[in-house]
Symmetry: none
């Protein structure tokens, strides 16, 4: 039996509130150039005190040595095995969610790049000179106009940053089993859309017609005169958390991608601000409405991606200052962790295990203050797959029946 199936079988309702506070990319690295991690360098009196009566541990988002994207990192925290096909959120869908779009059932998303080809149709720049975002908006409008005449599918073109956009196709019986049209090389033409499974043959033909219509409309553009499509995908079919665990789930995230992933898991997405203080305002206002609260703080990851340890420390300290407001709501279980590590020295997501703090009345108390990577590695929870965090939260919240008699 898979882990979430076992949990679902044992789940029972209870009058307890569970809070998952994700500090995106909070895990960090100790190295010669950066001896102290962000959590070690930050002054966090409230987190430290909470840790003394919490259990600590570490989580591995996908598998040992595997660096997760934001999608798998969060799906694992929500209890899903991110390596299974049904939890596979494609690149097109992720890009669409990141732009705040909602995908209908069966709708296909692809990540688009504008590119430049010469008169012979051979690619000279796969990113169209990284045209400005306003240019992208203008050319996208031309694409959408061209697609309006298309039969059989309804198309949307949504501009992203610089040369990036998202193409959405809705219609009957579409399949996302399509290969990328980006040849990943210069001096050759873009590839024609082609199915990777027989059931996608009709969709491939539709996409070829759509590409032809779009490229005809922008042939006169000096830079953005071709389109490259990647990551054709549909929304994953995840069993919804509220049904699996008999849990009213609310997502409090300031950035679209995380809202989208939460929505895909069946959570109600509550509009809220981007900083922890704003998020907590909204959580407090909606405290009666949910059993499970997913709170997402993005700025730790952003600072890590910038290689800015001081900024990462500042975000953690900001969270720490606001923590008493969260605790004042008297949640029964609070998990503080990340979806992955984003070590400042690496300026990127990494595979390093992520520290986890689990506060609850029946948590085995560490008995010593302090929350950081080193303490987490010695903690009572040990090192676990991220997808076991939800079960721990349910268990500490008295929401699981005993297994067997």
């Amino acid at each position: 039996m898979r882990h979430h199936e076992l949990l679902a079988r044992l789940a029972r309702p209870a009058d307890t509130k569970l809070v998952l506070l994700v500090l995106d990319g909070v895990g960090d690295l100790s190295s010669a150039e950066q001896p102290r991690t962000a959590l070690e360098a930050a002054s966090t009196p409230h987190l430290d005190a909470l840790a003394a009566r919490s259990s600590l541990g570490r989580i591995v988002p996908v598998a040992t040595g595997v660096t997760p994207g934001s999608g798998p990192g969060h799906l694992a925290l929500f209890g899903y095995d991110p390596t299974t096909p049904e939890a596979d959120i494609g690149r097109g869908v992720l890009e669409a969610l990141g732009l705040g779009l909602t995908l209908g059932a069966g709708e296909i998303a692809a990540r688009g790049n504008f590119a430049t080809a010469d008169a012979s149709g051979r690619l000279t720049d796969r990113r169209a000179g990284r045209i400005p975002t306003e240019e992208c908006r203008r050319v996208c409008a031309r694409l959408e106009h061209a697609l309006a005449a298309l039969d059989g599918v309804a198309a949307r073109v949504v501009p992203g940053e610089a040369h990036r956009f998202v193409l959405l196709l809705a219609g009957d019986g579409l399949s996302a089993a399509l290969a990328d049209t980006d040849p990943q090389a210069l001096g050759v033409p873009p590839l024609a859309a082609r199915e990777t499974a027989p059931e996608a043959a009709a969709t491939a033909a539709q996409v070829r017609r759509a590409v032809a219509a779009m490229e005809a409309a922008i042939a006169d553009e000096p830079q953005a005169n071709r389109v490259l499509l990647r990551g054709f995908s549909q929304m994953p079919h995840l069993p919804p958390m509220p049904e699996l665990y008999r849990l009213r789930c609310g997502a409090f995230a300031g950035y679209p991608l995380y809202r989208g992933v939460a929505q895909a898991c069946g959570m109600e997405v509550v509009p809220c601000g981007k900083r922890i203080g704003e998020i907590l305002d909204t959580v407090a206002a909606r405290w009666a409405d949910f059993d499970y609260f997913f709170l997402h703080v993005k700025q730790t990851d952003q600072a890590g991606e910038d290689g800015d340890l001081a900024a990462k420390v500042a975000v953690i300290e900001e969270v720490d200052r606001e923590l008493p407001r969260l605790l004042a709501l008297s949640p029964d279980v609070v998990a503080v962790t990340g979806d992955h590590s984003t070590p400042a020295p690496m300026r990127a997501h990494s595979f390093h295990p992520v520290p986890l703090l689990l506060a609850a009345g029946i948590a085995f108390a560490e008995g010593e203050p302090g929350f950081d990577e080193r303490r987490a590695a010695r903690g009572q929870l040990g090192t676990l797959p991220s997808r076991e965090v939800l079960g721990l939260m349910l268990a500490h919240g008295g929401r699981l029946e005993k297994y067997g008699a």
Copy 2:
């Protein structure tokens, strides 16, 4: 390959004695209200000294966050994966084992409750006012008398405590795929026995006839005038430990449930007393007869269920005082652990990992005295599924071949 299959493939005989000493529910909790666990609070000079030349670790009975019943907790210690269907010991069987009954092959057990219904047949009390146990015995005799006339099946009715009893049905081709007849509600009649799989249709009809005969016989009872049946089940079909591992296995447990589970695993059940001293008397007398000795101490769990830390500490200290007698038998491997945690503050089984001590000449010695949850969390064995304990015992007893050349 599943873990027990791998071990079975590698198992070889050896002239070594392995002892599994289960302190039921020994794992405990450190919290603000109870800073020291039972193992931390107990004075255990012999266990402490043994720990210095042992490896420590922690075991997870079923899965992270999952609280096990006694059945799954023990099956895991005996090397079986408790989440597989063949290791599923139903509630009826467990209740029967707990009453010291032996089930024949194909025999069906159900847990019964006496209940009270009004003249219209609607339930007014699902526990028949919790009639005294003597009353239960008297009414059970009436049931058994009524069932003697039943064609096609041989029925046994065995009284339990208060309103509880066990119904056993033996006959050709019986199936336990039956739904409970307890509607779990008042104001409605009991449910008719119904199959949950087609092959149980004939058995369902037999059970309906049995229920009708029983209820006709007790219709004049003021309280216990109806029967509710739950947890229809048969003995699990587990490959026997002696065959799997070429190991003569003896069970030394003072309580019926644990004897029953051991028997289901193919162990020889040796009659013995309930306290560790009595158990060790019997073990010493039968030392030549077995390779693997399962010793079960129940009182740690009872104290935990009572929320009585002092009593739990006293049981652990009693075990510690007797430990030299066990060690004087010169076992090659001694594992001391629990089937689950029963933290005194929770007064119930819990999901917390269970400390494990593994003493053997080739155990990686911790080098420091002391055996408790915190030391176990830092121990050389790490945190393992309970079902890996048997493999560790076999390995430390020189009873596993090398895998591959």
